[in-house]
């Protein structure tokens, strides 16, 4: 008999893996790993706001990440600083402000849970939220898929073919923000980017089309969630790192078997 909390953890993890499968491919293709990382760092500020103002941390994260992503895109267009400088400043500024705000709030907050995730405490209400997020993100991504792939390969061609590249890219950013806001609970701020990148990078080795890469990436995520949760229970280790450990193990295995490139 499997405990209810484990079933909840698995359902939540599977939802997150499905979202990460498609989005992660674009993070790899667009070389946005650092962007994803910065976005997740900024989520701590949202969590702090949620705690201080007394609303749901996921909503707080969603709002701060959205503002962060918008602000970042605006500054990137200004081209005053290089992207990685900009990301470094914003990511760590919001991480610091978040931690300061939490400590000033005077409430006890389990920072570990936010930094490394705590999938085993997912509640029944949160499960519904994860399922809705998975369906919404996956169907939106499916809808803009071909256009977004074309923009990723070459933005000018897409523009010449009358694709509104700004709207499509903004939709992508919003989906990414939804992912970060939902996934914080599962693997934590510090490990979110790996959930996006490692399955996609592994999948790249064994697939030959964008669609297949996304599907296989999602499946690898699901396998890692199941194995990672199992491993964390039998070995009594933290779940988030355990999931990422399994992902990395599969990556190394696939790399050594299929090193075709």
């Amino acid at each position: 008999m499997i405990d209810n909390f484990i079933i909840n953890a698995l359902i939540a993890g599977i939802c997150v893996s499905i979202i990460a499968g498609g989005l992660g491919c674009f993070i790899v293709w667009k070389k946005m790993a650092y962007f994803g990382d910065s976005l997740s760092h900024s989520s701590l500020f949202g969590i702090a706001l949620g705690i201080i103002l007394g609303f749901n941390a996921t909503i707080g994260t969603f709002i701060t990440c959205l503002i962060f992503a918008g602000f970042l895109s605006y500054l990137q267009n200004k081209k005053i600083f290089s992207n990685d400088t900009l990301l470094g400043i914003l990511a760590h500024a919001s991480l610091s402000i978040g931690i300061i705000a939490i400590s000033l709030s005077g409430q006890y907050v389990n920072l570990d849970a936010y930094l490394f995730g705590d999938i085993l405490t997912v509640t029944n209400q949160e499960i519904n939220f994860f399922i809705i997020a998975a369906i919404a993100v996956t169907s939106s991504l499916f809808f803009i898929w071909e256009k977004l792939v074309l923009i990723t390969i070459n933005e000018d061609i897409a523009r010449a073919e009358n694709i509104n590249t700004k709207i499509i890219q903004s939709i992508f950013l919003i989906l990414l923000v939804v992912f970060v806001a939902t996934c914080v609970k599962i693997v934590g701020i510090l490990l979110i980017t790996s959930m996006l990148i490692i399955p996609a990078a592994t999948s790249r080795q064994i697939t030959n089309s964008p669609g297949n890469m996304a599907i296989v990436s999602g499946l690898l995520g699901i396998i890692s969630i199941i194995c990672g949760v199992y491993l964390s229970i039998i070995a009594d280790i933290p779940t988030g790192p355990s999931i990422i450990f399994v992902l990395t193990l599969i990556f190394v295995l696939v790399l050594s078997i299929y090193r075709k490139n």
Binding site: E146, L150, I153, I157, R159, N208, S209, P210, N261
Partner: protein, 240 residues
């Protein structure tokens, strides 16, 4: 007229990238824009395509215009797994029955199943042009298509492009640095260095003093020698 720019000027960082530029592309035109780096060639193309609005002047498009564009510096990152065929069909109607005819006509069937990131520069250009022909355009805009090609690659590419020009009811507007090839294949040359220095048929433009100013007198002389060499066959007998 397919597309026309009237007196357009573009100012970026207080510098006039384009200054009172006029250009008019007719049906069956084959126009090449030459000019130094930073002379506004790509900007002119992007204004015509509507990526940017000029600060002054206007761009008028015919209602018949169906434009397609191949950008400068096209490379594909290895991290994206995509076959050439899938790239060509990306965001295109899958019901187009003429596609196989186009593949056959352009003789690219042997590379369709290869990964885009493994193709050579010349093959990539062919794939780009094939993609741009799918929707049956009447104007092809090409930004430095031969930039990453060696000399034989350039020659092949211009043959390929000429075949397309001859076999279809199409106009071509191209930015290029390959002066020799341009002089041999194009019908009209425009020299752009922020403003239009000179324009005309390849056979007369090398005599323009502005052309010599832009590319140097030695070069202009060399190009006109090249031209005379070609004309020699026609004029030689009467001269003797």
């Amino acid at each position: 007229m397919l597309i026309q720019a009237e007196n357009i000027s573009v100012i970026r960082n207080k510098k006039e990238i384009l200054k009172n530029v006029n250009i008019n592309i007719q049906e069956r035109d084959f126009v090449t824009i030459l000019g130094p780096n930073g002379g506004g060639k790509s900007m002119l193309l992007k204004c015509l395509l509507g990526f940017y609005n000029p600060d002054f002047g206007s761009v008028t498009k015919s209602s018949k215009l169906r434009v397609s564009y191949t950008p400068q510096d096209f490379t594909v990152d290895k991290s994206i797994p995509i076959r050439a065929l899938d790239f060509i069909m990306l965001n295109k109607s899958k019901k187009n029955k003429k596609i196989n005819d186009i593949f056959q006509e352009l003789n690219i069937e042997n590379i369709l199943n290869q990964q885009l990131s493994t193709l050579s520069g010349g093959e990539l250009q062919k794939i780009l042009i094939t993609r741009s022909l799918i929707d049956n355009p009447n104007l092809l805009i090409l930004d430095e298509p031969t930039q990453n090609l060696d000399v034989s690659g350039q020659l092949n590419f211009y043959k390929f492009l000429n075949r397309i020009y001859e076999s279809r009811n199409i106009s071509i507007l191209m930015v290029s640095h390959d002066l020799h090839m341009v002089m041999a294949s194009t019908k009209k040359v425009i020299c752009l260095s922020n403003h239009i220095c000179c324009s005309g048929e390849p056979s007369t433009i090398t005599d323009d003093p502005e052309f010599a100013n832009l590319f140097g007198h030695d070069f202009a002389n060399m190009m006109s020698l090249y031209r005379h060499d070609i004309n020699h066959k026609h004029n030689g007998e009467s001269d003797d």
